[in-house]
């Protein structure tokens, strides 16, 4: 939870208790379940009615029976009391289950909506939002909201209804004594409100200190090497201690109010009991009030205070739930940047021609990554792209896949400009092998077909065999059913890439993009297997390969050389080598000799 990088974002939400927009929108999620909600409300009213029955029975038992030394109807009253109890238990239980059900359904809906919304978002959105933040929206924030529905609103309603029912019952029993009791209501409500407000400020201060402290701690842990290298342990600890003391102060302040609140309610209770005894007792002496009524009033008093006292607890629940709702809605309100056309053109089987026509692109509208790039790739042609780091090679791939939209120019597949296609239709025809193969914590076969049920297990096996991944899979304890750890931590880099290649083979697209850049520590056997499988996967398909290995370049039909966002050279290996230009230098640098490869710069 605290891993949540949201500390700043949290401050952006208003945190207002009642924001009509947020509440109204939340209400919309309740609409499909209105019969249950209505039923629950009816139950609450019945419940509030039953709540006042107990003391009435007690009164009848005292005045009508035991005070007169009679017991003939006592068993009836006890039975009545018992049925009231059973009724209350049943209704409360049914009502609670009902509201939990509604709460859970709404949460399931909201989670699903948010998840589906994320699937629609463009890659740029994921570049902006850290993973942790999005996970928190879908998990913690949704759970906080659930409390609002199943506990917050309902409990508040139930409390109010109970207070009202008790007030009515008291009025009916003895209106004079009832009015005396009412007199205590305004000061009590005022006190509760006062505590709620002071507590709210205290909680806010508490949260502010806590998030600061946690950010501080997180920063120190991550940067501990620097802290120690600069002998800053004492100084940082001193700073930390100052904040920790701030939190202690805020904590004690909140606690002080809380500690005062509880006794205040106790004293209020005692005060009313005292007054009932004095005023009611006097009335008993006048014989205008029975002892049974007096006892019933003392019992009502308890039912009267408890709900009011409970209201202050609900306040915090409501507040954090509203903040959570606001944060979830912020995500839901973000629009996708890369949009499908209104009436997309359909692609059937394609030949696989690719055209880049004067393409300009920048991730941030400012620093051009591609500058006026133009090239054609014929169906079935294998093209290798080479160039130093940052030349714009992987950007080409992202654009052809339409993960981002270009600023100027046009990209066409089989003559169709790609913005005229539905993104998913386009991507079905373009397979991609990413350099850092992402694996899911699922079985090997599900990782190959990405849980797509339209690809049979036989196809999965065939794909694995085609790329030669079957050999290492056979060595796994459970073969294709072997569960992979998070991010495939139990596989080597080479094995992960083989799975990524098998993925392409299984999906069988007409166009294949392969990222084959420098990877550390791959054993020669896997290395050979990888090269062979890249060759097989690209066979007969239009392919763009970001090449690292000389062998990969060698089997390409053509080589495009990129530098600083331009295509600077194009031709076959021998042509380009003969030209003695950028490619010749690159070749000299990257592909000749491997023992002391320079890094970075």
């Amino acid at each position: 939870m605290i891993d949540d990088p949201d500390i700043d974002l949290d401050n952006q939400v208003s945190g207002k208790l009642y924001d009509p927009h947020v509440v109204g929108r939340l209400g919309g999620y309740l609409r499909p379940y209105w019969p249950q909600v209505l039923f629950g409300a009816v139950l609450l009213i019945i419940l509030a009615g039953l709540e006042v029955v107990g003391p009435l029975i007690l009164r009848e038992a005292i005045d009508g029976q035991i005070a007169n030394r009679e017991t003939d109807r006592l068993s009836v009253l006890v039975a009545l009391y018992f049925s009231t109890l059973v009724g209350m238990f049943t209704i409360r239980y049914v009502q609670s289950v009902m509201m939990n059900y509604v709460g859970q359904r709404v949460m399931t809906d909201l989670r699903m909506e948010t998840f589906a919304h994320l699937q629609k978002m463009s890659i740029a959105f994921f570049d902006r939002n850290p993973v942790g933040r999005l996970v928190t929206r879908l998990t913690n924030d949704v759970s906080t909201l659930e409390q609002l529905i199943s506990q917050g609103v309902v409990q508040i309603l139930a409390n109010l209804l109970t207070v009202m029912a008790v007030m009515v019952a008291m009025l009916v029993l003895d209106w004079k004594l009832a009015l005396v009791m009412y007199a205590f209501l305004p000061p009590l409500v005022y006190a509760v409100r006062f505590f709620a407000f002071t507590q709210r400020d205290g909680y806010r201060e508490q949260r502010a200190w806590l998030s600061r402290i946690n950010a501080d701690l997180n920063e120190n842990i991550t940067g501990m090497a620097v802290v120690q290298l600069f002998n800053r342990e004492k100084e940082n600890l001193r700073k930390f201690d100052r904040r920790n003391r701030g939190l202690l102060g805020a904590n004690l302040m909140v606690l002080r109010w809380y500690a005062i609140f509880e006794p205040t309610v106790v004293i209020f209770g005692a005060l009313t009991t005292g007054v009932i005894l004095w005023y009611g007792g006097g009335r008993v002496l006048d014989e205008t009030l029975t002892i049974g009524t007096l006892v019933a009033f003392t019992q009502y008093m308890q039912r009267f205070y408890w709900p009011i006292r409970d209201l202050s607890d609900r306040y915090t629940t409501l507040q954090s739930a509203t903040a959570s709702a606001e944060r979830i809605f912020q995500v839901l309100d973000e629009d996708a940047e890369v949009l499908d056309p209104e009436s997309p053109r359909k692609l059937g089987h394609i030949a696989g021609r690719i055209e880049f026509d004067h393409v300009w692109f920048a991730y941030d509208d400012e620093n051009w990554v591609l500058r006026d790039v133009s090239f054609d790739i014929a169906p079935g042609e294998r093209v290798a792209i080479v160039g130093s780091t940052g030349a714009g090679k992987s950007t080409l791939m992202n654009l052809l896949n339409r993960l981002y939209d270009i600023q100027r120019g046009e990209i066409r597949v089989d003559g169709v400009p790609i913005p005229e296609l539905a993104q998913r239709d386009l991507r079905r025809h373009v397979g991609i092998v990413l350099q850092d193969a992402f694996l899911f914590s699922d079985s090997v076969s599900e990782n190959i077909r990405l849980r797509d049920p339209s690809i049979s297990l036989a196809q999965v096996r065939a794909a694995a065999e085609l790329v030669g991944a079957d050999r290492f899979i056979a060595r796994l304890d459970n073969g294709y059913d072997e569960l992979l750890a998070e991010r495939g931590a139990n596989l080597s880099t080479g094995e992960k890439q083989l799975i990524a290649l098998a993925r392409v083979a299984a999906f069988n697209p007409e166009i294949v993009l392969v990222m084959d850049e420098a990877t550390a520590s791959i054993d020669p056997e896997t290395e050979a297997a990888l090269q062979a499988s890249i060759r097989r996967v690209t066979e007969g398909r239009t392919s763009i390969i970001i090449a690292h290995r000389l062998n990969t370049i060698a089997f390409a039909d053509r080589i495009l050389v990129m530098q600083h966002g331009h295509v600077v050279e194009s031709g076959s290996h021998s042509e380009l080598l003969g030209r003695g230009g950028v490619y010749a230098k690159l070749f000299e640098l990257q592909y000749k000799g491997q023992d002391l490869a320079p890094t970075g710069s």
């Binding site: 005292i62 399931t108 699937q119 120690q228």
Partner: protein, 592 residues
């Protein structure tokens, strides 16, 4: 020391507050039993007057009874206030102490610890676990004590009112307690199942978002949604299974309380009618039962809270009881005027059994500039890390001015080394604060010098608050090059005897880098400098070049010596020259 002893030590520090707090709980539990007695007397008096018409009790006396009830409530309220403030308040102090101790421990722990630990896990212990421990030592402790005291004292009072009814209550209460406790156990188990599924959902979202490129590339958004929907439904199913039980808890408590009234009504009613018990006693007894119902029903939750707190304390103790493997020597050697001569004597080092450096021997006189070159993973960073004693060598010695680093106080070793690490880490604080990391309260001159050397001065004009601008998470984001130059300024202002640049200018553009190196030359002339670098001009100008290959020094000499040897270095140098040529932005003008 066990986690229990650790917790005990924190508590014992505040033993008086705890003891007084406990005494207040005891007092409150006794005082709360008094008002029902007054109620009884009042009701019995009222009834007697009612029955025979004689004025046994006057309004004035009734008023006094009312005042008495209020008085006892005031005492009870005060005791409750005191106990909350003392015990819960003290638990806040304990929380504060543990948090400070954790932070202090983090400062001491070595890099080996941080390599093994995960930040998220450490943070969880400092937040969730700490909170559970605090609750255990505060509210939970009070609840537990109050429950036990109330039950014992309450039964005593119950029996004093009416022996028979008291014994019936004795038989009844354990039943309620057992029913509720066993229901809580089921609720607890169902809740764990919900939590497990919650974890599954989180992982799903986590993976989905992390693997979004792959998912989009294969147009698998719908499959992902379907998979999530299934997990989501399971979450709903488990939540409902939990709700069926938890929904019963609160009604159960209400019924538990109500049923006690039922018992009194039945058994007590007959006794009152038969004259074996007064009406006042009847009311008093009933009031006690209501009083006792609350603590009784909360027993289940209190028990859970205790369990969680104990488990959390164990996790916190794991950190607090870890001893750092790199620490000050017992009797540190004094070293005042540090010259900066560095010696590696047969040093070997391995991370978790993977050798990183093997038999490194190296003698660097004070004032020498050493360039360290080699492929990724050759051991360059490890070598310079040993120099600042971020790690200790497994074998051999690293010496500063002829003294083993392990014999010197850590603060002296680290004070002598100005380190610019490969991955820049700046704190989200103002730029001044970040630069002053190297030296407390630096003079204007020192700051100016550091800014000039690192070429950061020109960038300040672009920042809204100049050098006071806050950077990082709570402020603006600096570019990679700016960050590296800030880190350099931080090391320069320290005025160290040994300066280490671990590939520290990789994001700085060529022109600025040359400018920086030019200025550094004067600074470095008086200092021992280790530079891990790739740029040919930097390397060639070093007094000495060390070539590392798979953790061993394979070549060692000046640029001229090594270049004629036609070995690793000359190959590296030629390729690097070529790379620099290729990277030269010759076509830069075209686009803009």
């Amino acid at each position: 020391m066990s986690s229990f002893q650790l917790a005990r030590n924190y508590v014992l520090r505040y033993r008086w507050r705890y003891l007084i707090g406990f005494a207040a709980v005891l007092a409150a539990s006794i005082v709360v039993m008094v008002p029902p007695i007054i109620l009884r007397v009042a009701i019995d008096d009222l009834r007697a007057s009612f029955d025979d018409g004689s004025a046994l009790i006057s309004r004035k006396e009734l008023a006094w009874y009312g005042v008495l009830i209020l008085g006892f409530a005031l005492v009870e309220g005060f005791m409750r206030f005191g106990s909350r403030l003392l015990v819960s308040g003290t638990s806040r102090h304990v929380e504060y102490n543990i948090r400070t101790d954790l932070a202090a421990k983090f400062m001491q722990l070595d890099q080996g610890f941080y390599l093994r630990a995960q930040t998220g896990d450490l943070m969880a212990r400092c937040t969730n676990d700490l909170q559970l421990v605090r609750d255990l030592l505060g509210p939970t402790l009070i609840d537990l004590l109050r429950t036990l005291l109330m039950l014992v004292i309450g039964f005593f009072f119950l029996l004093s009112v009416n022996l028979k009814l008291g014994l019936i209550a004795f038989a009844y209460f354990p039943i309620v307690a057992i029913v509720i406790a066993s229901a809580s156990t089921v609720v607890e188990r169902k809740y764990r199942e919900v939590q497990e599924q919650f974890g599954v959902l989180s992982t799903r979202v986590q993976e989905n978002v992390s693997g979004m490129r792959t998912i989009k590339a294969y147009a698998q958004e719908d499959t992902e949604s379907a998979g999530f929907a299934a997990a989501n439904r399971e979450m709903q199913r488990r939540s409902m299974a939990w709700a069926y039980w938890t929904a019963a808890m609160f009604p159960l408590m209400i019924v538990g309380t109500g049923a006690s009234t039922l018992l009194v009504l039945w058994f007590g009613g007959h006794d009152v009618a038969a004259g074996r018990m007064s009406l006042g006693e009847f009311v008093q007894f009933n009031t006690y039962l209501i009083l006792l119902a609350n603590p009784l029903t909360s027993l289940g939750w209190t028990a859970t809270s205790v369990q969680q707190g104990v488990a959390s304390m164990k996790r916190i103790a794991e950190i607090l009881l870890t001893e750092p493997s790199i620490a000050d020597p017992a009797q540190p050697t004094e070293l005042v005027d540090i010259k900066g001569a560095v010696t590696f004597r047969d040093v070997s080092f391995a991370y978790n059994g993977h050798p990183a450096l093997t038999n490194i021997s190296l003698d660097v006189p004070a004032g020498t500039m050493v360039a360290v070159v080699g492929a990724t993973g050759a051991g360059k960073t490890t070598l310079v890390n040993l120099l600042a004693r971020l790690w200790d060598p497994d074998e051999g010695q690293v010496l500063l001015d002829g003294i083993d680093l392990r014999l010197l106080p850590l603060s002296v070793v680290r004070g002598a080394v100005g380190f610019v690490p490969q991955e820049t880490f700046l704190f989200s604080d103002s730029l001044t604060e970040n630069i002053a990391y190297g030296r407390a309260n630096p003079s204007e001159e020192a700051i100016d010098h550091a800014l000039q050397t690192s070429q950061l001065g020109n960038d300040l004009a672009q920042l809204t608050h100049g050098i006071e601008t806050v950077i990082g998470e709570r402020g603006i984001t600096l570019s990679g090059g700016q960050k590296q130059r800030a880190a350099l300024a931080r090391a320069v202002i320290k005025d160290p005897a040994v300066l280490v640049l671990d590939d520290a200018l990789s994001h700085v553009d060529t022109h600025t880098e040359e400018e920086i190196l030019h200025r550094l030359r004067d600074f470095a002339a008086k200092r021992t400098t280790f530079v891990v670098a790739h740029r040919t001009s930097t390397i060639a100008s070093a007094d000495r070049i060390i070539v590392l290959d798979r953790g061993r020094i394979v070549e060692n000499g000046t640029h001229d010596e090594l270049i004629v040897r036609e070995g690793h270095y000359s190959r590296f140098y030629r390729r690097q020259l070529l790379a620099e040529q290729l990277d030269k932005p010759e076509n830069e003008g075209l686009a803009t």
